[in-house]
């Protein structure tokens, strides 16, 4: 019961007036940083880390946790209102969040995202509190073959994610994977695919460059072309009553997705190599699979917003686990937090839970409070975000372009990447015209650089024997499930064929 006492202590500390104020400022700041395309919790935590040396460490942790949560909630805001995923974890949120916003139901999408995030974060916090040391050993049992199997599972959810045109969907997936391979080959250390031998390609192509290009520029150009520049927003006035109705609807239609996302996201999130992006993607895929009306997904299903949002929030909380218990950062943000802990004189690693109980449970206690504050503040700001959507399109459009370019620069600090972004945007405009789905490419550029090295590391381990993916106790079952899911549509297709052929014979 010591743990619960320490946890309660941590929560009480968070509720002191000074700390509560820190939470409110931190969450609000984080919310807006996260809502900017290109910026995320990593920026918020990085700039405020030095500030935290001015306040006592306990307040510092609380402040950082508040920003972390605020930014996680904010990510969904730009996905839904602007249609630009500000972080790779929020790509899956655009699939249904954007259509909902276009139908004039942005408030429903935002409410769903906020509530799902809250549940996801809370579930993750509870799992964390109860099982942290146990889960750390699960994370350790994931070596390269296991991570690759998991990536295979994430790819399985791509099936049915793209449009109706199968060759174009496969093209898009492969295109994203190849783009992700540009730069250096991790295994041999040799430069690879340095296009036109231009040195700028040595650093590879980041997710944000492609995502902002495709969504912030390409999709916008397409919208301007499609609507002849005459976008009439059908956003209804926000009322308390309307929001209450939205809350009810979000709860009724989104609970299943939320439940799936919360648990799946957490388990994927605790693996240091995987992180929140595959977690949110898999949650979306599973929510679609178990849904009674999967055809709604992609057209504005509430469950399609709830699942990835619950998952990415849950996974982001989960990614704290490898950092605290193993000293391995699961994301850039936790990497910076890790640096902060070193500066505070703490040694992250297996001993932390034993030696620094007060710190650990104080941190987790502040997670609970920050999460609660984040959902309340987020809900309070929804009318502001909706108001933004009510701006005339001829004002909103240039503002989105400007935010895309400045946000893109803020993330990469390289003009070459901005030119690439513009190039991708114009390319994406034409590909969009000819029904090439681009979301698979945007996700593949995140998953490819995880999948390829783990595949090759595994084969190095086994001296080139691919059976390593089937014989290891954890990797085996995951690989088999992933392969079944990938080939299921093909099998169905094959079974239908002979059935058709038989009918006339019988």
């Amino acid at each position: 019961m010591d743990v619960l006492l320490l946890l309660a202590d941590g929560m009480l500390v968070s509720l002191q007036p000074l700390n509560l104020m820190m939470i409110i400022i931190g969450v609000t700041l984080g919310l807006f940083i996260g809502a900017m395309p290109g910026l995320g919790s990593v920026n918020g935590v990085a700039i405020l880390l030095p500030v935290t040396f001015l306040v006592p460490p306990s307040s510092a942790i609380i402040f950082l946790a508040a920003i972390y949560y605020g930014a996680m909630y904010g990510g969904a805001v730009s996905s839904i209102t602007l249609g630009i995923p500000g972080a790779s974890t929020a790509v899956a949120t655009t699939f249904d969040g954007r259509p909902l916003a276009k139908q004039g139901r942005a408030s429903l999408a935002l409410v769903t995202a906020a509530l799902a995030s809250f549940v996801g974060g809370t579930v993750a916090n509870i799992l964390f509190t109860l099982f942290a040391p146990l889960l750390a050993s699960v994370a350790l049992s994931f070596g390269p073959p296991e991570v690759f199997a998991l990536m295979l599972l994430a790819f399985a959810t791509f099936v049915g994610l793209g449009g109706d045109d199968i060759p174009k969907t496969i093209f898009s997936i492969c295109f994203g994977l190849v783009l992700g391979a540009i730069g250096f080959d991790q295994i041999s250390g040799a430069p690879r695919l340095v296009l036109f031998d231009y040195n700028g390609f040595l650093q590879g192509i980041g997710f944000l460059v492609l995502a902002i290009g495709v969504y912030g520029i390409g999709e916008m150009l397409w919208t301007i072309d499609q609507t002849r520049g005459d976008v009439t927003a059908t956003t209804p006035q926000m009322t308390i009553k309307g929001m209450a109705a939205d809350t009810k609807e979000a709860a009724r239609r989104g609970w299943k997705g939320t439940a799936i996302g919360s648990f799946l996201g957490f388990f994927v999130g605790i693996l240091p190599a995987a992180g929140a992006t595959p977690g949110s993607l898999m949650a979306y895929g599973v929510a679609k699979m178990v849904s009674r009306n999967p055809e709604e997904f992609g057209k504005g299903a509430v469950g399609g917003v709830a699942a990835p949002e619950a998952a990415n929030n849950s996974a982001s909380t989960g990614s704290m686990l490898p950092m605290l218990t193993l000293g391995i950062p699961g994301s850039p943000t936790t990497a910076i937090l890790l640096g902060g802990m070193v500066i505070w004189g703490l040694v992250p690693g297996p001993r932390l839970f034993v030696d620094e109980q007060q710190f650990v449970w104080g941190l987790i206690g502040s997670f609970y409070i920050s999460n609660l504050a984040a959902v309340l503040i987020n809900l309070a700001f929804i009318p502001v975000f909706i108001w933004m959507l009510r701006m005339p399109f001829t004002i909103l459009a240039p503002v989105i372009f400007v935010l895309s370019i400045t946000g893109g620069y803020a993330a990469t600090r390289d003009m070459f990447d901005i030119w690439l972004m513009v190039g991708f945007g114009i390319g994406a405009f034409f590909m969009r015209k000819f029904d090439y789905p681009l979301a698979p490419a945007v996700l593949a550029i995140v998953l490819g650089p995880i999948a390829e090295p783990t595949l090759r590391q595994s084969l190095l381990l086994s001296s080139g024997d691919p059976s390593i993916f089937f014989t290891r106790p954890v990797a085996g079952p995951i690989t088999v499930v992933a392969l079944i899911l990938i080939f299921l549509p093909a099998l169905k297709f094959l079974r239908r064929r002979p059935a058709k052929g038989k009918r006339p014979a019988s």
Binding site: I33, L39, N43, I47, D165, I166, P167, K168, I170, F171, C174, F175, L177, V178, A181, D185, S188, A190, R192, L193, V194, I217, L221, I224, D225, R228, G229, P392, T394, I395, A397, P398, V399, F401, V402, I405, T406, Y409, A410, R413, M415, I418, W419, V422, G425, I426, F429, F430, M431, K433, F434, D435, E452, L455, R456, S458, L459, L460, S463, G464
Partner: protein, 167 residues
Amino acid sequence: MRVGELITAGFLALLSLYLMWKSTELPIGYISGTGPGGGAWPFWLSAIMLICCACTAFNWWRGTTPASKSDEPVLDSHGWKSLIFVGGGIVGFVALVSIISMYGAVAVFLFYYLWFLGRHGLVLSVTISLVFPIALFFFFEGAMQITMPSGLPFTDPVFDVLYDIIY
């Protein structure tokens, strides 16, 4: 649309071929004992891309894709205009960044879009195109400590004043 789809597929096929050729700089085969070589992953994925382009061309020939059945032009006169004015505006915006700084380029782009494309009033256009970049400056440089390009040296006096305000 009909011709456009084939041209797009052809262009993407050429891109796939280029990527395949570029991948062969590293070994693309299966090296016994160590698994695939460094070029194998991009090479074979690009090969799949090429096959997909061929499939798209086949579907086009069969006429099963929506685009291959459509006689509409890819871009009508309005489409061309909006692509050139908006897309060209963005290209101009990015080109200006290295000359008159990020914030200067933002101001010019906003004014161009609001006043010229959006046909908003002069007062509104000027107000937004002045206030927004200044707000961005304080957000990025002041709050987020991210330095944006400041263009050619002639912008330095302005930035010196602004930096004195925030630090």
